[in-house]
């Protein structure tokens, strides 16, 4: 089976985020960057499928040069090759534009299955997976927490607000991965050594014959207000309960 995994490099969620002075973007230079955690589930799922039924796993990425490290991590985990777009003109793309570029890259080969994380933990857009599927005219299932492939179909389990669904998705298809799908493996040391030797194709927008413009422009970014101090209630328990309910209703508007 030929599997593609779409990966993004994101800022580590534990990192302290600062904005550029003009509020246009996040300051990323000194921030620790990692392979998007939801994409790790996709990488692990792809490698497990390959280990079970044979085939090849290609990691695909659109991003700046620094994203090579995320790609290397995926290769070190066990992907076989990489195809990456490195083009300064692609820097300002919105998620839909990124999806268009990824779809063009994927269209150059015949993949049986495209996997990616359900969202990137930096922008939380949740858009790329379904948008890629739409562009490639492929069926898509999202938030997979279980996955099996047999007889040209992916059987996908997903949780939806109190119910568990099971979907049968004919291949080729796009699936987005949710936490709980698997436990991503650590890259092994031999894997890290081998990653440096695995083939990596670098393409530009010109190679794809594309000149995408963002259709959604970001107007600005602000940091959220700092968390206010919590309130500690005192007094007799029944009185505290009354006060808590009143605060939840009138101040927090939570009930």
């Amino acid at each position: 089976m030929k599997i593609a995994v779409l990966v993004k490099q994101v800022a580590d969620t534990a990192a302290k985020i600062e904005l550029q002075p003009d509020g246009s973007a996040v300051k990323l230079d000194d921030v620790q960057k990692v392979l998007n955690p939801y994409d790790e589930f996709a990488v692990e799922a792809a490698i497990q499928l390959k280990e079970k039924d044979g085939g090849e796993v290609t990691v695909v990425n659109v991003g700046p040069d620094s994203a090579d490290e995320a790609v290397k991590t995926a290769l070190a985990m066990g992907c076989d090759r990489a195809v990456v777009l490195r083009d300064g003109e692609a820097q300002g793309l919105d998620p839909a534009g990124t999806a268009a570029v990824l779809a063009a890259m994927l269209a150059r080969e015949e993949f049986d299955l495209v996997l990616c994380g359900k969202q990137a933990v930096d922008d939380d857009a949740h858009l790329v997976g379904p948008a890629v599927a739409e562009r490639l005219d492929l069926p898509v299932a999202t938030f997979a927490t279980s996955l099996e492939v047999a007889d040209g179909k992916a059987v996908v389990g997903r949780d939806a607000d109190g119910i568990r669904e099971t979907l049968a998705v004919p291949l080729p298809a796009v699936l987005t991965c949710q936490k709980g799908l698997n436990e991503p493996r650590y890259p092994s040391l031999p894997g890290i050594m081998q990653a440096a030797r695995k083939p990596k194709d670098v393409v530009t927008l010109a190679d794809l014959g594309m000149n995408p413009e963002p259709r959604v422009a970001r107007q600005g970014m602000t940091l959220p207000p700092p968390r206010a101090e919590g309130k500690v209630l005192s007094g007799e328990i029944p009185d505290q309960v009354k006060e808590l309910v009143q605060l939840l209703r009138n101040e927090a508007r939570a009930v």
Partner: protein, 380 residues
């Protein structure tokens, strides 16, 4: 001169950091308390290639450079000094001895099993009467038909309670002082080998440290490591790499002490403010941080030079001397910053304080390191 880690080294560091955080950190405190050997952690480590980090790929290892290995030791040392020394003795001393002094046959016979972790190695040099004065060791290796018979005692042997194999130093020529010592590969389960009780150590509680006695233990010809009576230079050469490894362990402990202290002092409030606003605490933290950076640079410099095959006797000694001393100062400050809480087992710095001290002692005391450095200065 590039002071940045390469992409490859960053990948290694991230992998080691994630593994340490995910697989070791949740158990470190319990292992320290129960003195449990990290068997399950080692099983996982084996699958990732952590038992054969610098063993060349042709012998089944990960084929990484020495700096990668040192980076891994620091990350593991940060989380559990015991697990760190277990891996260090196996990788640096046991495998290191094979790599540097093993014949091609010995490498092919031993390295793949050591790299996979099928073998866990120990290193038996020290005796009850021979610590810093290792050259005065007494374990007798008597020549017999087909090999030697070993009789004597070795003490403070890390991994001694669980190792499957080891390198042991014995006296093949009683008259020749340091020129009468030979190194042997041997099976820890061979007839005549007895593992003693665990030492009741101050720290490194999850690491097995025992006395090992030999009664007429037979080792065959093919197990001689290097040349007969040339074992002492073998020991000294292996200890060079060992020093850098222990320095990395000390660095990891110190870094953990700093991380804990920065976090604690940013939360603990006294006199209406977090204590990290007080100059005394700020000075503690900045001194710790500066010395840690200095130690890291000394260690990386020695590691890179060693990996490139250059002579590093002075540099390795400097790295261990400084890193272990900086580590002691760091854990002392860390407990102080934590106040009374730092004196209890509920806080990580208490274990760091107990684990730190041995880094000034084993694999060459700080006093010996000073002599090594002075001799290197005199020789230049």
């Amino acid at each position: 001169m590039n002071f940045q880690l390469s992409e490859q080294h960053r990948l290694v560091r991230d992998m080691a950091r994630d593994f340490a955080a995910g697989e070791i950190a949740p158990h470190a405190e319990e292992m320290d308390r129960t003195h449990a050997f990290p068997t399950e952690i080692l099983e996982k480590a084996k699958g990732l290639g952590l038992l054969g980090i610098v063993v060349p790929e042709e012998y089944g290892g990960a084929g990484m450079d020495f700096l990668s290995y040192i980076i891994i030791l620091e990350e593991i040392g940060r989380v559990c000094a015991s697990t760190c020394v277990i891996l260090s003795v196996h990788n640096t001393l046991f495998i290191g001895g094979l790599l540097k002094f093993g014949s091609e046959e010995q490498k092919r016979a031993w390295l793949p099993r050591a790299a996979s972790g099928e073998i866990l190695g120990a290193y038996l040099l020290t005796e009850p009467g021979a610590g810093s004065d290792a050259g005065s060791l007494k374990l007798r290796a008597k020549k017999v038909e087909g090999g030697w018979r070993l009789t004597g005692s070795k003490s403070f042997i890390t991994n001694g309670g669980v190792a499957s194999h080891g390198i042991v130093y014995g006296r093949t020529d009683p008259e020749a002082g340091t020129r009468g010592i030979s190194a042997f590969l041997f099976d820890m389960d061979a007839e005549g080998v007895t593992r003693g009780a665990e030492e009741k150590k101050m720290g490194l509680n999850a690491s097995s440290t025992v006395q090992v006695t030999f009664e007429d233990v037979f080792v065959p010809e093919e197990n001689l490591l290097g040349e007969e009576n040339r074992g002492f230079p073998v020991a000294m050469e292996i200890l060079n790499a060992g020093r850098i490894g222990i320095a990395a362990q000390a660095l990891g402990i110190a870094q953990a002490a700093l991380d804990e202290s920065v976090a604690y002092s940013g939360q603990r409030e006294q006199f209406g403010t977090t204590i990290n606003r007080f100059q005394s605490i700020q000075w503690f933290l900045s001194e710790m941080a500066t010395e840690i950076e200095a130690a890291r640079l000394l260690i990386y410099r020695a590691a890179v030079a060693y990996g490139e095959g250059r002579r590093v006797i002075k540099e390795a000694a400097m790295a261990k001397l400084f890193a272990s001393a900086a580590c002691m100062r760091a854990v002392d400050k860390a407990v102080q910053i934590h106040g009374g809480y730092g004196y209890t087992r509920d806080y990580k710095v208490e274990r760091l304080f107990r684990d730190a001290k041995v880094t000034e002692i084993y694999e060459g005391t700080s006093e010996v390191q000073r002599i090594v450095i002075a001799r290197a200065l005199a020789a230049s």
